[in-house]
C-alpha cells in the first residue's frame, strides 16, 4: 500500500463491495491501452531514507557560500518569521480561493500583495502574481499589443535582462533593439509600430535608467511604456507610475523568497486602472458579505481562461500564491524604512566594492553610469577569476561572455567578504 493512503484490507473489501466490483483491476476495465507490469522506478524509500538522499545530494551543491552573482535573483536576508507564516497548513495546503467564504485569509493576503505592489510601483492596480519576472515581462508585452491593438512588437535594449528578452521571444513577440550606450538605453528613436517600449531600471548592468524618457518615447508613438523594476529598488527610486510608465513588472524574489536554484519566485504586474481589463491573472477585490461585513473575493473574472477560454487575456491559472505571500510578509516586516535600508546597505556595499576594485586597477565597464548594487567589471579571463574565487569559498559574478563579469552585492555581504573578494581578484590577475 502506498505511503499516504489510509485503506486497510477491510476498507478495500467494503468499498469494492459498495461499488460492485471484484477487484481493483476491475476499476480499470475501461482503460485501454493498459499498462501491464511494474513501473521501472527505484524501490520506494521511507521518509528517513529519502531525506537522507536529499541531504547527500545537497552536499554536492556549493550552497552557503557568499554569493556575488545576481542577474535576476539576489541572495538577500530573509526574516525567519516568513517561513513560520508560509508553513501554516491553511496557507500551504489550500488552493485558489474559488470558495471565498473559507478562503478569506488567502484572499486578504492577495489584496495586501496587490496593495504593496501598487504602492511600490505607483500604479493603481496589480494582480495576484505570475510565474516569475520573465513571464511578467512577456505577459506585459502581450498586454501592450491588446491595449494598442497592434501586433505584439516591443522595443527593448541590452539593458533588459537577456533571460527576460528570451522569454518574450518564446511567447511570439517581435523584439526590436534600441541603442545601448555607456550603460543606458537611448530612447530617442523608437519605431512607430511597436506596441510597447520596455525599460528596465536598474537595468541588467545595475544602472538606473531614465524611465521618464522611455515613457515619453513610448507615448510619442502611441505605444505603452513598460518598466521592469526590482521591487527593492522601488523603496528608494521614483516609482515607474510617477515617471509615466503604463505598466510595471518584475520579480519579487528579492522580497523574502529563497534562491532555491531559480524558483519558485513570483512575478508581479501593475498597471493603470483604465487598463485593468487587459491584466492577466487573478485579482482580489474588496466587497461585503450578506451581513455587510468587509470581505475579499476574486474579481473581474471575465479576463480569465476558465470564463473566457480562448478569448482570455492569458492561459494562466495556477500562479505563485505562496511565494507572493512571502513577499507580502516581507513588506510588512521591513516596511518602507526597512526596504530602503536594504537598498542603501546594498548600494553602499556595492560602491565600496567597486571603489576597492578600481583602486586595485580593475576597470568597471561603465564607470560613469549611476548604479545601485550591481555592476560589470572587466577581466581578460572571467572563468579563471571565478575559479580563484570559488577556491576561496566565494561564488563570483556572472560571466557575461565578453570579457566582463556582472557583480551583485546585497546587504547580506559583509565587509570581510567584500575585502576577501578584492584580495582574491587582485591576486588572480
Amino acid at each position: 500500500m502506498a505511503r499516504f493512503t489510509p485503506h486497510t484490507e477491510a476498507d478495500l473489501e467494503e468499498m469494492l463491495g459498495a461499488i460492485g466490483v471484484e477487484s481493483l483491476d476491475d476499476l480499470f476495465a475501461d482503460v485501454s491501452p493498459k499498462h501491464e507490469g511494474e513501473l521501472k522506478l527505484p524501490p520506494p524509500l521511507s521518509e528517513h531514507e529519502a531525506l537522507a538522499d536529499v541531504n547527500e545530494l545537497a552536499k554536492r551543491n556549493a550552497a552557503g557560500l557568499p554569493v556575488f552573482v545576481g542577474a535576476g535573483a539576489y541572495d538577500r536576508i530573509i526574516p525567519s518569521a516568513i517561513s513560520a507564516i508560509i508553513g501554516r497548513g491553511e496557507f500551504l495546503t489550500s488552493y485558489t480561493p474559488y470558495q471565498p467564504e473559507v478562503s478569506q485569509g488567502h484572499l486578504q493576503v492577495v489584496f495586501e500583495f496587490q496593495s504593496v505592489i501598487s504602492e511600490l510601483t505607483g500604479l493603481e492596480v496589480s494582480n495576484a502574481s505570475v510565474y516569475d519576472g520573465s513571464n511578467a515581462v512577456a505577459e506585459a508585452a502581450l498586454m501592450t499589443a491588446r491595449l494598442t491593438k497592434r501586433d505584439p512588437k516591443v522595443a527593448v535594449s541590452k539593458g533588459l535582462n537577456p533571460r527576460y528578452r528570451e522569454v518574450v521571444e518564446t511567447y511570439g513577440v517581435e523584439v526590436v533593439e534600441l541603442p545601448f550606450d555607456g550603460g543606458t538605453t537611448d530612447f530617442s528613436e523608437v519605431p512607430e509600430d511597436v506596441s510597447g517600449v520596455f525599460v528596465q531600471s536598474p537595468n541588467f548592468y545595475g544602472i538606473v535608467e531614465d524611465v521618464e524618457a522611455a515613457s515619453k518615447a513610448a507615448h510619442g508613438v502611441e505605444a505603452l511604456c513598460v518598466a521592469v523594476c526590482d521591487p527593492i529598488s522601488l523603496a528608494v527610486l521614483e516609482s515607474p507610475g510617477a515617471l509615466g510608465a503604463d505598466v510595471a513588472v518584475g520579480e519579487t524574489q528579492p522580497m523574502g523568497i529563497p534562491l532555491t536554484y531559480g524558483g519558485p519566485y513570483a512575478g508581479y504586474m501593475a498597471t493603470k486602472k483604465e487598463f485593468v481589463r487587459q491584466l492577466p491573472g487573478r485579482i482580489a477585490g474588496e466587497t461585503i458579505d450578506e451581513e455587510g461585513r468587509l470581505a475579499y473575493v476574486l474579481t473581474l473574472r471575465g479576463r480569465e481562461q476558465d470564463i473566457r477560454r480562448a478569448k482570455a487575456n492569458s492561459n494562466i491559472c495556477t500562479n505563485q500564491a505562496l511565494t507572493a505571500l512571502s513577499a507580502t510578509v516581507y513588506a510588512a516586516l521591513l516596511g518602507p524604512e526597512g526596504m530602503s535600508e536594504v537598498a542603501e546597505l546594498s548600494a553602499s556595499k556595492a560602491h565600496y566594492l567597486a571603489d576597492r576594485l578600481q583602486a586595485s586597477g580593475i576597470w568597471l565597464r561603465y564607470p560613469d553610469a549611476p548604479f545601485l548594487w550591481e555592476f560589470a567589471v572587466e577581466f581578460d579571463d572571467v572563468e579563471q577569476v571565478n575559479a580563484a574565487l570559488l577556491e576561496s569559498g566565494i561564488v563570483g559574478g556572472l560571466d557575461l561572455g565578453d570579457g566582463a563579469m556582472l557583480v551583485a552585492v546585497t546587504e547580506k555581504r559583509t565587509k570581510k567578504e567584500l575585502d576577501a573578494f578584492v584580495e582574491v581578484v587582485a591576486n588572480a590577475l
Binding site: F4, N61, A73, P97, Q104, V236, D289, R308, A332, E341
Partner: protein
C-alpha cells in the same frame, strides 16, 4: 471579528525587522544617483512590529481552510495530502540557498535531482524526453503547443492553423491554443462524455496542428478511444497532446506513449503532491516523443561523462522561464516519487477506488451523468430543483470544502468531486452523509448557507462594479 489590513495595524516609525548595521561607509543615494531618479514620497507600506505581523498573518491563516484542516475534494485539482517530508526537503539549505546562475560544477546535486525526475516522468509517461521548466500546468500546455508550432515551422509546414479541443476541456486548453497563435476549434462528445471520434475524424485535416485531450477527461471518464484518436491525428500529420492534470488516475495503469500521445504535461503540484499554496506555485513538466524532443525549452539536463549539464535542445523554442522553473516543486515531486517508486500504482488505484465509492454512494440521490466506472473523480448533478452552488455552500456548514462546481461546462449544475487517495473511508462516508442530507434540505435553508463560515456569501457583483483592489 474585524480583520483589518496590515497597514491599519501600524504606525509610522514601527519596524518589524532589524538589519545589520553599515560596516562600510554609507553612500548617499542623492549623490550617487540623479536627483530625479529618487523617490519623492515613500511608499505607504505597513509599518508594524514583528509581533503584530505574526499575529496578523496567523489569524488570517485561521480564516482559511486547507487540506490540513478539511476534506477538500476540489475536482480537477487533486488536493491530496502534502507530506511534510517534501517541505523538509525543500528547506534543506544546500538547495534553498543555491543561486540559479551558479555554474554547473557547483550545482551537481540539484542537476541530479532534475535528471532523475526527468527519468521518472519519462518512465511514467513512456515518453522519452522531458522538460521540467514550465511553472504550472497551463505553462506546460503552452510549452507543448509552442513546440508543435515550432515543429511545423521547422518542417516548413505553414498550413497548420488550428488546434482542436473537446467541449469538456479545461479553460486553459483553448486559452493556450490562442496564446500560441492557433485557432481553437471545439469537438463534441459522445454519449460517454468522451471525444466523438467520428466528429473528430471529419474535422481533422491538413490545417490541424494538434488535438488537446485530457485523459481521464474532465468528466472523470477515461477516453477509451484514445488510441484511435491518436491514429486519426497521426494520419493527418497532426499531434496528440495530452493534458495530464488528471494523471492521478493513470499512474502505472496507463502510459501516454502507448496511447499514441506525442506530448503531455504533468501537474507536479497535483499528481506528485507539491502543496498548492493557496493557488500556487505549481509545476507543469512536459514529456514528449523523440520527434518533438529537439524543440523542448532551454535548458534540459543531460548526463555527461564529467557530470550533469544544462543543455539547450537543438531546435529549442527558447526559454519559458528566467531560470530552471520552479525547482522547489521539482525537488518535492522527485522526493514524493522516490518515497513511492512503483507503488505509485497504488496511489492511482486508491484514488480511483475512492472516487467510485463516492459515485456508488451518491448515485440514486444525485444524478450521475456518465454513470459508469469513473476514474479519480466523479461528476454529479444535484437532485432536480437544487443548485450546485447551494449544495456547495451547504457543504461548508458541514465542514467540507466544496467540490469544483459548474465545470466542466457541458453538464448543467456540474459538481466535480475528486476525493484523492489520501482520504479515509470514514471521511468519505461523512462527506456522503452530508451530501445526502443536503439533498433533502429545504431550499431556503440551503440558500442561506454558509452560516458557520468566516463570512456569509459575498457580493461578487459589487467587487467588480466598484473595483477596489488595493488599500
Amino acid at each position: 471579528m474585524p480583520f483589518n489590513l496590515i497597514r491599519d495595524k501600524g504606525r509610522e516609525g514601527r519596524r518589524g525587522y532589524t538589519l545589520p548595521g553599515f560596516d562600510v561607509e554609507k553612500i548617499e543615494l542623492s549623490t550617487a544617483l540623479p536627483e530625479k531618479a529618487l523617490r519623492s514620497e515613500k511608499p505607504h507600506l505597513a509599518e508594524v512590529d514583528e509581533p503584530t505581523a505574526i499575529r496578523h498573518y496567523t489569524n488570517l491563516s485561521r480564516q482559511n481552510w486547507g487540506i490540513d484542516t478539511n476534506f477538500y475534494p476540489l475536482g480537477s485539482c487533486t488536493m491530496k495530502h502534502n507530506p511534510r517530508a517534501n517541505e523538509q526537503a525543500a528547506a534543506t539549505p544546500g538547495f534553498a540557498g543555491l543561486h540559479p546562475h551558479q555554474p554547473e560544477e557547483q550545482t551537481q546535486g540539484a542537476l541530479q535531482v532534475m535528471h532523475e525526475l526527468q527519468g521518472f516522468l519519462a518512465e511514467i509517461s513512456g515518453l522519452p524526453a522531458v522538460s521540467l521548466q514550465p511553472m504550472a500546468g497551463a505553462q506546460g500546455e503552452l510549452t507543448s503547443i509552442l513546440m508543435i508550432r515550432k515543429f511545423f515551422e521547422d518542417a516548413g509546414d505553414h498550413g497548420r492553423t488550428t488546434v482542436i479541443v473537446p467541449e469538456t476541456a479545461h479553460g486553459t486548453n483553448p486559452a493556450t491554443a490562442s496564446m500560441a497563435s492557433f485557432k481553437a476549434v471545439e469537438v463534441g462528445l459522445d454519449e460517454h462524455g468522451c471525444v466523438d471520434v467520428d466528429e473528430l475524424r471529419a474535422m481533422v485535416d491538413e490545417t490541424t496542428a494538434a488535438l488537446m485531450i485530457t485523459n481521464p477527461n474532465t468528466c472523470g471518464v477515461f477516453e477509451r478511444n484514445i488510441k484511435e484518436i491518436s491514429d486519426v491525428l497521426h494520419e493527418a500529420g497532426a499531434f496528440l497532446y495530452m493534458d495530464g492534470a488528471n494523471m492521478n488516475a493513470n499512474l502505472g495503469r496507463m502510459r501516454a506513449a502507448d496511447a499514441g500521445v506525442d506530448v503531455m504535461h504533468f501537474n507536479l503540484h497535483k499528481t506528485f503532491s507539491t502543496p498548492h499554496g493557496g493557488g500556487g506555485p505549481g509545476s507543469g513538466a512536459i514529456a514528449c516523443s523523440d520527434a518533438l524532443a529537439p524543440f523542448r525549452p532551454d535548458p534540459v539536463v543531460e548526463k555527461r561523462a564529467d557530470g550533469f549539464a544544462l543543455v539547450r535542445p537543438e531546435k529549442s523554442i527558447g526559454r519559458m522561464a528566467a531560470f530552471h522553473g520552479n525547482f522547489g516543486q521539482i525537488l518535492r515531486a522527485w522526493n514524493y516519487i522516490k518515497m513511492h517508486g512503483p507503488e505509485l500504482k497504488d496511489v492511482t488505484d486508491m484514488a480511483v477506488l475512492n472516487a467510485n465509492y463516492v459515485r456508488a454512494k451518491l448515485g440514486g440521490t444525485y444524478r450521475v451523468p456518465y454513470d459508469e466506472l469513473c476514474k479519480h473523480e466523479v461528476l454529479v448533478q444535484p437532485p432536480k430543483g437544487k443548485k450546485a452552488l447551494d449544495i456547495a455552500k451547504g457543504l461548508i456548514d458541514h465542514g467540507f470544502h466544496p467540490p469544483t462546481i459548474y465545470f466542466p461546462l457541458v453538464v448543467k449544475e456540474a459538481m466535480l468531486i475528486e476525493p484523492t487517495e489520501t482520504e479515509s473511508k470514514e471521511t468519505l462516508d461523512d462527506f456522503v452523509g452530508a451530501m445526502l442530507e443536503l439533498a433533502e434540505t429545504e431550499p431556503e435553508e440551503l440558500e442561506a448557507a454558509p452560516t458557520h463560515a468566516p463570512t456569509r456569501r459575498l457580493d461578487e457583483t459589487r467587487a467588480a462594479r466598484q473595483l477596489k483592489a488595493r488599500w
